[in-house]
C-alpha cells in the first residue's frame, strides 16, 4: 500500500464496487454532471460569440455549475452515508495522504495525484469531464511536451474503474479555477488596459490556493 505523494491534494478514493447509490441519487448525479458539461460548453463557446463575453450569462452559467456541483456532492454524501462500509472512504476525503483499503482502484488512482505533484500536467482520467477545458488549455500550452506514452499510462479501461466523475476536493478547486478564470478572462478582455487572457497552468493555480 503506497501513500499518496501529493501533500497539497486531498483525494477521495472511490471504489465503485462498494458504493451502492440509490437510483434517485444516481439520477441527480447524472443530471448534475450533464448540466456541468453543458455549462462548460456554453462558457467556452461564448468566447467566440459576436459582441464578446456576456458577463451576465457567464455568471449565470457559473452559478448553475456550482449549484450542480453542490447538488452532486450532496447526492454523493447521502449515497455514501447509506452504505456504511464506505464511511471509511468518506473520512479519507478529509485526511491527507491516507490510503484506501481496496487495492485495485488505488494504484491507478494514486498515480494521478502523484503525477500532478511532480508537475506532470495530466488529470485523473476520471475527471476528464470537468477538467477538459483546463486540460484543453494546458494541452495548448504543452502540446510539444506531452509524450504519447503518458496518455496510455493514464487511460484506464472502463472495466477497471467505473466512476467517471470523481467529486474529490481537487475537482472542486479546479472547477472554481475554471469558473473564476473565465470571469477573469472577461475582466481582462473588458478592462481598459486589458491584456489578452493567458491559459493558467493548473499546478501554479493549485499552489496559489
Amino acid at each position: 500500500m503506497r501513500e499518496a505523494e501529493s501533500t497539497n491534494l486531498n483525494v477521495l478514493i472511490v471504489c465503485p464496487g462498494l458504493i451502492s447509490k440509490t437510483s434517485c441519487d444516481m439520477e441527480v448525479s447524472v443530471e448534475a454532471k450533464r448540466i456541468m458539461v453543458v455549462a462548460l460548453g456554453k462558457l467556452y463557446s461564448s468566447r467566440t460569440q459576436r459582441g464578446g463575453l456576456r458577463l451576465h450569462r457567464s455568471l449565470l452559467l457559473t452559478l448553475v455549475m456550482k449549484s450542480a456541483r453542490d447538488m452532486y456532492h450532496e447526492a454523493q454524501t447521502t449515497a455514501e452515508s447509506a452504505a456504511p462500509g464506505c464511511k471509511q472512504q468518506q473520512q479519507q476525503q478529509q485526511s491527507k495522504g491516507e490510503v484506501a483499503t481496496e487495492p485495485t482502484g488505488v494504484q491507478t488512482e494514486l498515480q494521478g495525484p502523484a503525477s500532478l505533484a511532480t508537475g506532470n500536467p495530466r488529470t485523473l482520467p476520471g475527471e476528464e469531464v470537468v477538467c477538459s477545458p483546463a486540460e484543453l488549455r494546458r494541452d495548448a500550452e504543452n502540446k510539444e511536451n506531452l509524450c504519447p506514452t503518458q496518455h496510455s499510462r493514464k487511460r484506464r479501461g472502463k472495466a477497471a474503474v467505473e466512476p467517471d466523475f470523481l467529486p474529490c476536493k481537487k475537482a472542486k478547486l479546479e472547477q472554481q479555477l475554471i469558473v473564476n478564470s473565465v470571469l477573469l478572462d472577461y475582466v481582462n478582455c473588458s478592462s481598459e488596459l486589458g491584456a489578452h487572457p493567458t491559459p493558467m497552468p493548473l499546478q501554479r493555480a493549485i499552489a496559489a490556493c
Binding site: 459576436r50 458577463l55 451576465h56 450569462r57 452559478l63 449549484s67 477573469l184 473588458s190 481598459e192 489578452h196
Partner: protein, 443 residues
C-alpha cells in the same frame, strides 16, 4: 453569367416566399412615445424604424388611426474595439423617447456601448431663389447675376429627416442593458452589468457614475445589474434590478455614489421549488415603474411580480406567465431559452400588465379582475380587423380541440418586446422580425 443571375433570382424568391428572416431584421426593442403618436422599433442590424399614427379622419371612422412608416435610419453601425479585440454589435438594445418640446421628435437609442440622441424632424418647405446658386445647387456664373433677390420658402414634398445630435460613448466597460430618461428632462441614466451612469443630455464627454457594484476581486462577483429605471415623477429616485432577483431603490440626494440603497425588495426563495436552475430563473430581466409611480413591476423567467414601493419583503402580486415550463427547465437550459430576457409593460391606467412568452404567445393580466388572457401574434390569426382568439396551453391530461400542448410549443418564436400606448388600448408586439399592432375592438 446568365446562370449566376438565374441562381440569384431563384435564391431571392425562395428566401422571400419562405419568409426566412435575416438576422439583421430581428426586432430588438419597441417603444411608443409619450403621446402615443409615434412608435419606434430597433433591430439587430442597428436600424430604427419609426411609425406614425394616421390622423383619424371623419370620413373614414373605421380606419382608426393606423400606424405607417414615418422614418427609417441607421442608428448604430458595427464597430471593432481594437484594444480589446472585440466586435461591438450594432443591435439596438433600447430606445427611449424624450417628451416632445417642439416640432421635432427626439429619441435615445443604444447598443452595447454607445448611446445616441436622434432628432427626427419634418421638412415640408425649402428655400428657393438663391443668388449665388441655382435651384439644383449649381453655382451660378457671377456675370449672369444682375439683381439681388431674397430666397423664398416654397412648399415641397414632406421629407422626414433623422439627424444624430449627440453621441454618448466611452463610458461603459460592460454591455449596456437599459437607458432611462429622467422626469427632469435634462438627465438620463445608462446601465451596464455593473454600473449605472448619469448623463446630461447636453454633455457628451462626461458622465457621472452613480452605482458601481463591481467587486475588488472579480472572482467574488455574485450578481449583476439587469435593468434600471428612473421614477416617473421623482427625479431623484431610480430603481435597479439584479440577477439575484432583488430590486434596489436609490435616492440620488443621499450621496453622490448611490451604492447604498434606501429600499431593498426581495422575496425569500421558496425552498420547495429549488432546482439546479433556481438562480437563472430568479434573475430579473425587466423592471418598470407604474405610471402613477406607486408600484414596480419585475419580470423573471416564469413570473411577473408587482411590488408596492412601501412593502419590501414580498411582492404585492405574483402572476404565473408560463408555469408549465417549470418541468422543462433542463431542456430550456440546453437550448439556451432559459436565458431569454422577457420585458413587461403596464397599460396607461396601471390596471393591466402584459408580457411575452413562447410560440408567439403573449399574456395580459388584469390586476383588478384577476383575469388573464393568452393571445397569439401570428400571420394566420391576424387578418386585418380580425378579433384575436384567446389561446390556451394544455398542461396535462386530455387536450381539448383548441388547446396546444406544451411539447408542441415553438420555442424559437418568442415575444420578448412589447409596448402599450400611454393612453389608449393599442399594443405593439415584436415577434422576431415582425411587428404586430393590435387595437381595442371598435364598437
Amino acid at each position: 453569367m446568365e446562370e449566376e443571375s438565374d441562381t440569384r433570382k431563384i435564391n431571392n424568391s425562395f428566401l422571400r416566399d419562405h419568409n426566412y428572416a435575416t438576422e439583421a431584421d430581428i426586432i430588438s426593442t419597441v417603444e411608443f412615445n409619450s403621446s402615443g403618436e409615434l412608435l419606434a422599433t430597433g433591430d439587430k442590424g442597428g436600424r430604427v424604424v419609426v411609425f406614425q399614427r394616421e390622423q383619424e379622419s371623419k370620413s373614414q371612422p373605421q380606419r382608426r388611426g393606423e400606424y405607417n412608416v414615418y422614418s427609417t435610419f441607421q442608428s448604430h453601425e458595427p464597430e471593432f474595439d481594437y484594444l480589446k479585440s472585440l466586435e461591438i454589435e450594432e443591435k439596438i438594445n433600447k430606445i427611449k423617447w424624450l417628451p416632445q418640446q417642439n416640432a421635432a421628435y427626439f429619441l435615445l437609442s443604444t447598443n452595447d456601448k454607445t448611446v445616441k440622441l436622434w432628432k427626427i424632424s419634418e421638412r415640408d418647405k425649402r428655400p428657393e431663389g438663391y443668388n449665388l446658386k441655382d435651384d439644383d445647387g449649381r453655382i451660378r456664373d457671377p456675370s449672369t447675376i444682375t439683381s439681388l433677390r431674397v430666397p423664398v420658402l416654397q412648399p415641397m414634398d414632406l421629407m422626414v429627416e433623422a439627424t444624430s445630435r449627440r453621441v454618448f460613448s466611452n463610458a461603459h466597460t460592460y454591455h449596456i442593458n437599459s437607458i432611462s430618461v429622467n422626469s427632469d428632462l435634462q438627465t438620463y441614466i445608462s446601465t451596464d452589468d455593473l454600473r449605472v451612469n448619469l448623463w446630461n443630455l447636453e454633455i457628451t464627454d462626461r458622465s457621472f457614475n452613480i452605482v458601481d457594484i463591481k467587486p475588488a476581486n472579480m472572482e467574488e462577483l455574485t450578481e449583476v445589474i439587469t435593468s434600471a429605471e428612473f421614477h416617473p415623477q421623482q427625479c431623484h429616485t431610480f430603481a435597479y434590478s439584479s440577477s439575484k432577483g432583488s430590486i434596489r431603490l436609490c435616492d440620488m440626494r443621499e450621496a453622490a455614489l448611490c451604492d447604498k440603497h434606501c429600499k431593498y425588495f426581495e422575496e425569500p426563495e421558496d425552498p420547495s421549488t429549488r432546482s439546479f436552475f433556481s438562480e437563472i430563473i430568479s434573475s430579473i430581466s425587466d423592471v418598470k415603474f407604474s405610471h402613477n409611480g406607486r408600484y414596480l413591476m419585475t419580470r423573471d423567467y416564469l413570473t411577473v411580480k408587482v411590488w408596492d414601493l412601501q412593502m419590501e419583503n414580498k411582492p404585492l402580486e405574483t402572476y404565473q406567465v408560463h408555469d408549465y415550463l417549470r418541468g422543462k427547465l433542463c431542456s430550456l437550459y440546453e437550448n439556451d431559452c432559459i436565458f431569454d430576457k422577457f420585458e413587461c409593460v403596464w397599460n396607461g391606467s396601471d390596471s393591466v400588465i402584459m408580457t411575452g412568452s413562447y410560440n408567439n404567445f403573449f399574456r395580459m393580466f388584469d390586476r383588478n379582475t384577476k383575469r388573464d388572457v393568452t393571445l397569439e401574434a401570428s400571420r394566420e390569426n391576424s387578418k386585418p380587423r380580425a378579433i384575436l382568439k384567446p389561446r390556451k396551453v394544455c398542461v396535462g391530461g386530455k387536450r381539448r380541440k383548441d388547446e396546444i400542448s406544451v411539447d408542441s410549443l415553438d420555442f424559437s418564436k418568442k415575444i420578448l418586446h412589447t409596448t402599450w400606448h400611454p393612453h389608449e388600448n393599442i399594443i405593439a408586439v415584436a415577434a422576431t422580425n415582425n411587428l404586430y399592432i393590435f387595437q381595442d375592438k371598435v364598437n
